[in-house]
Structure formats: structure tokens, C-alpha cells
């Protein structure tokens, strides 16, 4: 059995086997926190979304389809959905009945730790501003492909759209980012994006 098969089998068991879940959780917790921290301003929001990501993973583990991407890409897809604007309103409603709220689990030390993670995950302020001009979907595409290193196919399955749509949105998003960074005088970042665009 190869690593992928083992990983997929483990993923199907996370909803029913606490030990399998712990192993899965420990493998991905840090990167999920970093991914979420990049989009959230407060430790409470990071904690809530990270908790929700894993709750959702437990709920939908049986529906995980390995042909559509690796488990980590699947987790990022859940996180992207939870952080998208259309989900924020739903999250507020769900918060009334949600099983687990991350912020309730936060201690004083955790606030400090998460604030550090948010600062570390944050891009340069000019890049943050440029990303802020993108739509939710374009921003997710850039984050998944250019920052998290997923392939366009994995990003497509993560976001539930076609790979061609991912490529189109990625091209458009990079073009806008380059333009905003050029205007801001960030030649280095703009050049980095140009090189990424050529290589992908």
C-alpha cells in the first residue's frame, strides 16, 4: 500500500476512529492554522475557523474523493469555503448552534501564539492590499496555487470548479496583482508573480 492509499484510508476513518483522527489532525493542524491566519485578523476568528474546518472534515470524511486531490488540498478547500464571504453570514448563523467554537478553547497564551502566527502568515502590507482587491475566488486561487503550492487541478477540486476556470482566474488575478504592485512600486513582488505566471 503506497503513502497515498494509506493516507486516503486513514482519512475515511477519521470520522469514526479517534486515533486515526488525531494522526490526521497533527499532520495538518499547523498548515491549516497558517492558511487561515493569512485571511483572518483576530485570533478568535482563526480559532473558530480552524475548529470548524476539522469539524467539517469529520462530518464529510466519508465523502472524501482521493481522485480529486490530496487530503491537505481537501482541508484547504473546506477552509476556503468557510472563509469566503458567502459563508461568513452562514457561519454567524451556524455559530448559534455550532457544536464547537474555537474561541472558547483559547487561553491567554494561545492568543499570543495565534497573533504571532497571524503576523508570520501575513504578506507584506502592499501585497495584502493588492490581494484585498481580488474577488474571494480569485484570492483563493492565488493563495492555493502561489502560496500553498497546490497544482491548478488540485486547486480546482478544492474550490469545486473546473481546472480551466482556475487557470483563467489565476491569470486574471496575477495580472491585477502585478498592476497593483507596479503602481505601489513593488517591483520585486511584481517580478516574482510574472515569473510564476510564465512557469505555470
Amino acid at each position: 500500500m503506497d503513502n497515498n492509499s494509506r493516507s486516503n484510508e486513514q482519512l475515511h476513518r477519521i470520522a469514526t476512529d479517534p486515533d486515526a483522527f488525531e494522526s490526521f489532525y497533527r499532520s495538518h493542524f499547523g498548515r491549516v492554522v497558517d492558511f487561515v491566519a493569512r485571511r483572518c485578523a483576530s485570533p478568535e476568528d482563526v480559532a473558530d475557523i480552524v475548529a470548524d474546518v476539522f469539524v467539517e472534515a469529520i462530518r464529510s470524511a466519508e465523502r472524501f474523493d482521493p481522485s480529486r486531490g490530496a487530503p491537505f488540498a481537501w482541508l484547504l478547500g473546506i477552509a476556503s469555503n468557510l472563509m469566503s464571504s458567502s459563508w461568513r453570514a452562514q457561519r454567524r448563523r451556524r455559530a448559534l448552534v455550532v457544536v464547537l467554537l474555537g474561541r472558547e478553547l483559547l487561553a491567554n497564551d494561545d492568543y499570543t501564539w495565534l497573533e504571532d502566527r497571524i503576523d508570520a502568515a501575513r504578506l507584506a502590507p502592499v501585497a495584502e492590499r493588492a490581494l484585498g482587491h481580488l474577488s474571494d475566488l480569485e484570492r483563493s486561487v492565488v493563495e492555493l496555487v502561489d502560496i500553498e503550492g497546490l497544482s491548478t487541478v488540485e486547486a480546482a477540486s478544492t474550490l469545486g470548479i473546473r481546472p480551466a476556470s482556475v487557470r483563467m482566474r489565476l491569470t486574471r488575478a496575477r495580472r491585477r496583482l502585478r498592476r497593483d504592485l507596479d503602481v505601489a512600486g513593488e517591483k520585486t513582488l511584481s517580478l516574482a508573480l510574472s515569473q510564476r505566471g510564465k512557469s505555470s
Binding site: P18, G30, L100, L105, L106
Partner: protein, 216 residues
């Protein structure tokens, strides 16, 4: 895709606490899944039982209906014959008992479990049914000028009958189990008040059954 190990930070407890809560959630959802599967298993077995029960019910109902359907035409024809006899002033069957001006005629139904009776005098006629399976069936025809009580005994334990109506009167019982007794005008009020009793006696004079004569 690159998997980087997470940083370890002293004093960071969130990961651990969240893990603890999520492990509980997994255990809980695993339990609920097992319960759900068990319920589904029970549910899938249930239709088979329901179908079996429905089939048995259909067989019972079908059998009853077909038997009843087979009996009804016979019973209907018997009733028509009796009604026809009564309408034409004929007797419905053989005379089985008599007392004073009254004569009792009966015809047992082969299909309904009933015995049709006809009580006739020169002046009037009355008819009805006894249930053949009853050990003792009693009826009466009472007027201000007197009347008669009559009935049928269907029990080997009963050898004779005694009417208790203020005084005790012996009731003659025919070999075929029918009886009839005249009621005097002075006895009518006792019957009307439900004070008359018919006592079935065994061969040694022991009481087998006490039957209250129905009020007219």
C-alpha cells in the same frame, strides 16, 4: 505540495484542547453512526415482518370472507323460505312444544348457527331466533292476559327445568330440548319486574345454571 512540520511553541494549548474536543466529537459521531446502522438494520427487517403479517391477515380475512360469502346465499334463501311461510300463514317447521293455545315451531338453520322459532296461537303469531350454541335460550310472549315462556336447552348436563316465580313450577322438557310454559296473568308482573328465574337442574337435582327470565 510541500508538507512542512508545524512550529512548536511553548505554552500553546489550543491545539491540544481542540484535539480533545474533536476526539470526543469523533467518538460521539462513531456511536451515533453505529446506532443509526442498528436502527437501519432493524428498519430493513421490519418491512419483511410487516409484509408477512399483512399476508397472513389477508389469508385470514380472505378465508373468512369466502366462507361467509359461501354461507350467506344459503342463509338468505333460508330466511326467504321462513318469511314466505310466515307470510302465507304456514308453519316454519315441525311443532316441538305446546302449552295451552300456544304452539312452538322451529327450523334450525344449517348455515347460520341459529334456530328460527315461530310461536303461534289461533289469534296471533310471533317469530324469532335462538342461538343454537347457547346452553339455554329463553324467550317469552307476555301480555296482560298472560303469556308463555319458551326456549331451548342445548346441554347434556341439564335434565330438567324449574321456574321460580314466587312459587316453584316444574317445566316439562321435550326430548329434543325444547320447552314451553304458560304464564298466568298474576305471574306477569313478576316477569315484568325481572323477578322470574329459570333454574336448570342436573339428573341428581343439582343446579346447573340459573337464568333470569328476560323482561318482556
Amino acid at each position: 505540495m510541500n508538507e512542512t512540520p508545524q512550529d512548536s511553541t511553548t505554552g500553546f494549548e489550543f491545539e491540544q484542547r481542540l484535539l480533545g474536543e474533536l476526539r470526543l466529537l469523533v467518538s460521539d459521531s462513531a456511536l451515533r453512526r453505529r446506532d443509526k446502522k442498528r436502527r437501519q438494520a432493524r428498519f430493513t427487517r421490519r418491512p419483511a415482518l410487516a409484509i408477512l403479517a399483512a399476508l397472513m391477515l389477508l389469508i385470514v380475512i380472505g378465508g373468512t370472507v369466502s366462507i361467509a360469502a359461501g354461507r350467506l346465499p344459503f342463509f338468505d334463501s333460508e330466511k326467504k323460505t321462513i318469511a314466505n311461510d310466515l307470510a302465507h300463514g304456514r308453519h316454519i317447521g315441525p311443532e316441538v312444544a305446546s302449552a295451552g293455545p300456544w304452539k312452538l315451531f322451529v327450523t334450525p338453520s344449517a348455515h347460520s348457527g341459529l334456530i328460527a322459532w315461530q310461536l303461534s296461537s289461533l289469534e296471533e303469531s310471533s317469530s324469532g331466533y335462538f342461538r343454537a350454541s347457547d346452553p339455554l335460550a329463553v324467550s317469552d310472549v307476555i301480555g296482560s292476559g298472560g303469556g308463555a315462556i319458551f326456549g331451548h336447552v342445548n346441554s347434556d348436563l341439564v335434565a330438567t327445568l324449574r321456574l321460580e316465580i314466587g312459587v316453584e313450577r316444574h317445566v316439562p322438557l321435550s326430548a329434543s330440548g325444547y320447552f314451553m310454559l304458560l304464564i298466568e296473568p298474576r305471574e306477569v308482573s313478576a316477569i315484568a319486574q325481572g323477578d322470574a328465574r329459570l333454574v336448570a337442574l342436573g339428573e341428581k337435582g343439582d343446579v346447573v345454571k340459573i337464568f333470569h327470565v328476560p323482561k318482556p
